[in-house]
């Protein structure tokens, strides 16, 4: 009992004898961005859906090499900005001209020029908040589990190494074909993701 409580992981492993780690996909490593871009073009043309390139900085031209579509986030931000603009106008009109008109040094109750600064600020505020949280939403972040985190080598993906991951939950995924593709990418290392 004492040993089991000291080492819970060992006891779980023992409880499921012969349990093999789950097979999750392939991870191909590259040493420079040029190799990554060429490999990405190859994977793009092979028709996989659930694959990704990982790099420590946005590599120029990689989005094109991966065949990524333009994000729709800017359009949502446009909507958010216009909402902020409209709300600011409505708020100032309702508060100062309709609900409780205030007489201040003979100024008109409602005049657009006096309302412009607040309209501008609220446009920026709504757009900025939408940009930040929209970026997280479209990227499905925070996401603390991902198959690539099983790899020790992947820790360098945020420093100086470039990776392509082919994940096993792709509808087109075939273990043998994926291995062939992974090996044809001329990466400096090919790794099976297991966890």
């Amino acid at each position: 009992m004492a040993t089991a409580s000291k080492n819970p992981q060992a006891s779980t492993a023992a409880a499921v004898p012969g349990a093999e780690p789950q097979y999750l996909g392939y991870l191909v490593e590259f040493e420079n961005p040029t190799a990554l871009v060429h490999a990405a073009e190859k994977v793009r043309d092979s028709g996989y859906k659930n694959w990704d390139a990982h790099c420590p900085f946005p590599v120029h031209g990689l989005d094109h090499a991966m065949g990524l579509r333009e994000p729709i986030l800017p359009w949502i931000v446009l909507g958010a900005g216009l909402t902020g603009l409209g709300l600011a106008l409505l708020m100032q009109w309702w508060m100062n001209a309709y609900d409780y008109p205030l007489i201040v040094s003979g100024k008109p109750f409602w005049s657009i020029p006096a309302n412009i600064p607040v309209m501008f600020e609220m446009t920026v505020l709504f757009s900025g908040i939408t940009l930040f949280f929209g970026m997280l939403f479209f990227n499905r972040l925070p996401q603390y589990y991902h198959p690539v985190f099983h790899s020790e080598r992947f820790k360098r993906a945020t420093t100086d190494r470039f990776f392509i991951s082919l994940l096993a939950d792709d509808p087109k995924f075939n273990r043998e074909k994926a291995r062939q593709l992974a090996e044809s990418l001329h990466g400096s290392n090919v790794e099976v993701l297991e966890g």
Binding site: H60, V104, L141, P142
Partner: protein, 466 residues
């Protein structure tokens, strides 16, 4: 003919102007890994530099002193300041405008220089943005405590209150509430977004349990995915695009607080551009003041190079000239207006009871940056530091001159009264610096001081060859 071939010379000194090629932004032949090591060492070193610890102890004590003064002010009322009638705004608003102005350089570096594709910004944008946020924190405190009854401060926001009166949207003071809070939030989001990939780098290098846990949570599971980078870059570009007019609007709105008043010395249409130029001027000086010690203490000379400091000096010179031009224009317009009170106000600035403040301002803001016409002074640590500190001081005095020298002698001589700061005034000015430095020092040690992901993008190794 130089004995050293041009290429080698440039590797040693990246301030050489050679139109044929761009200067190197990272010196010391670093690759991605060694550059990352240099930056992460600041966070990962088991013991911080002694000077950092000493500075943190001193500045946090000063910050505690500041908050004690705030508590004293709240319990006693704003009579503990030297403000009087007619000088209803004095150190409080001077400090507010000073700090908010400091913040502007951070946004200029992070947003405007990004839109202008100034690649050198990558070395200094993270720390300048942090400076922005901490400066806005300091700035925001002053109007809050200046309202006197801080427990009623929510009356400034468009929410129902017991008076059943809404805020008055035709007042620039209310525009300020919106401008400053938007500026703070958007700057914070911009900064946080830039931090995500770099915190992920720190997470992946972390050895200890707590480091792994805390940086792991903060990194949000960032995995450098290009699908993420694509949305991220688009969002970053748009945040920069929104921050650019935002930063110009913030100081314009601050200047409206003065310009829409009828007080001679305040009622001028030149204020918005003059305030924005002054803000960038003072802010760049603060960037230089902070980064010269930081690069030395944390060994970042290869990344924050002389080229970067020289560029800052050029911005200081350019904006200093704009500020000097604005001072001259103000004087000219006062004379040209033919308005006796206006003419008196400006003569009184230069020759009245606060003439000493005016001439400190002229010396610090107009005379001292002239040194930067010479490359020798732009590329010497000592002259950079001295001029930057002069400009920091000069820009505080500029706001003091605008506010106090205009208020203390307005229309009617019978209502004139001098302003004398009390020890609480002086203590709060000093104390706010302690708060600012405490936040900045903590940032240096616990978050990546340099935007590593952005630096990698401007290193020669990042180039894709076809």
């Amino acid at each position: 003919m130089s004995a050293i071939p041009a290429n080698n010379q440039r590797a040693l000194d990246n301030t050489v102007e050679d139109p044929a090629s761009r200067p190197q932004l990272v010196l010391g032949n670093h690759d991605f890994a060694s550059m990352t090591d240099v930056v992460c060492r600041v966070i990962e070193a088991p013991n911080p530099p002694k000077i950092w610890t000493t500075a943190l102890i001193i500045s946090s004590l000063v910050a505690v002193f500041f908050f004690s003064l705030v508590a004293y002010l709240i319990t006693k009322g704003i009579g503990v300041w030297g403000n009087n009638n007619p000088v209803g705004w004095a150190f409080d608003i001077t400090n507010f405008v000073f700090w908010i102005g400091i913040g502007h350089a951070g946004t200029l570096i992070s947003a405007i220089l990004y839109l202008l594709r100034q690649r050198w910004r990558t070395s200094i944008n993270r720390s300048a943005e942090a400076m922005t946020i901490f400066a806005v924190v300091c700035a925001g405190l002053f109007p809050l405590i200046h309202v006197g009854r801080i427990w009623l401060v929510y009356w400034m926001f468009p929410i129902p209150n017991q008076e059943w009166v809404w805020p008055q949207f035709r007042s620039p003071l209310l525009w300020d509430v919106f401008a400053i809070s938007t500026y703070f939030l958007v700057s914070l989001l911009f900064w946080s977004m830039g931090l995500i990939p770099d915190v992920a780098t720190v997470r992946d290098r972390a050895k200890g349990y707590w480091q792994k846990l805390i940086y792991g949570i903060l990194a949000l599971g960032w995995r450098g995915s290009m699908r993420h980078w694509q949305v991220y870059e688009k969002a970053y570009l748009l945040l920069a695009a929104f921050s650019t007019p935002l930063v110009l609007s913030v100081h314009s709105v601050v200047s409206f607080d003065f310009a829409t008043a009828q007080l001679p010395g305040w009622h001028t249409t030149i204020f918005p551009p003059y305030f924005v130029a002054g803000a960038i001027f003072g802010g760049f000086a603060m960037v230089v003041t902070l980064l010269i010690p930081a690069r030395k203490i944390f060994g970042l000379e290869d990344i924050i190079t002389m080229h970067h400091l020289e560029n800052c000096a050029k911005v200081i010179l350019a904006t200093g000239m704009m500020v000097g031009y604005a001072y001259a224009t103000e004087m000219f317009i006062a004379w040209y207006s033919g308005n006796l009170v206006e003419q008196f106000t400006f003569l009184n600035r230069a020759m009245g009871p606060y003439a000493w403040a005016y001439w400190i301002m002229i010396f610090c803001n107009v005379a001292s940056p002239q040194l930067f016409w010479w490359k020798k002074f732009r590329t010497s640590i000592w002259s950079l530091m001295v001029v930057a500190i002069f400009v920091d001081i000069g820009m505080w005095f500029e706001r003091f001159v605008i506010i106090v020298s205009s208020l203390n002698r307005d229309w009617m001589p019978s209502s004139w009264a001098p302003f004398v700061p009390t020890w609480v005034d002086l203590g709060m000015l000093f104390g706010s610096m302690g708060l600012f430095m405490t936040l900045f020092l903590l940032f240096c040690r616990f978050l990546p001081l340099i935007a590593m992901a952005e630096i990698r993008g401007v290193m020669p190794q990042a180039e894709v060859r076809h």
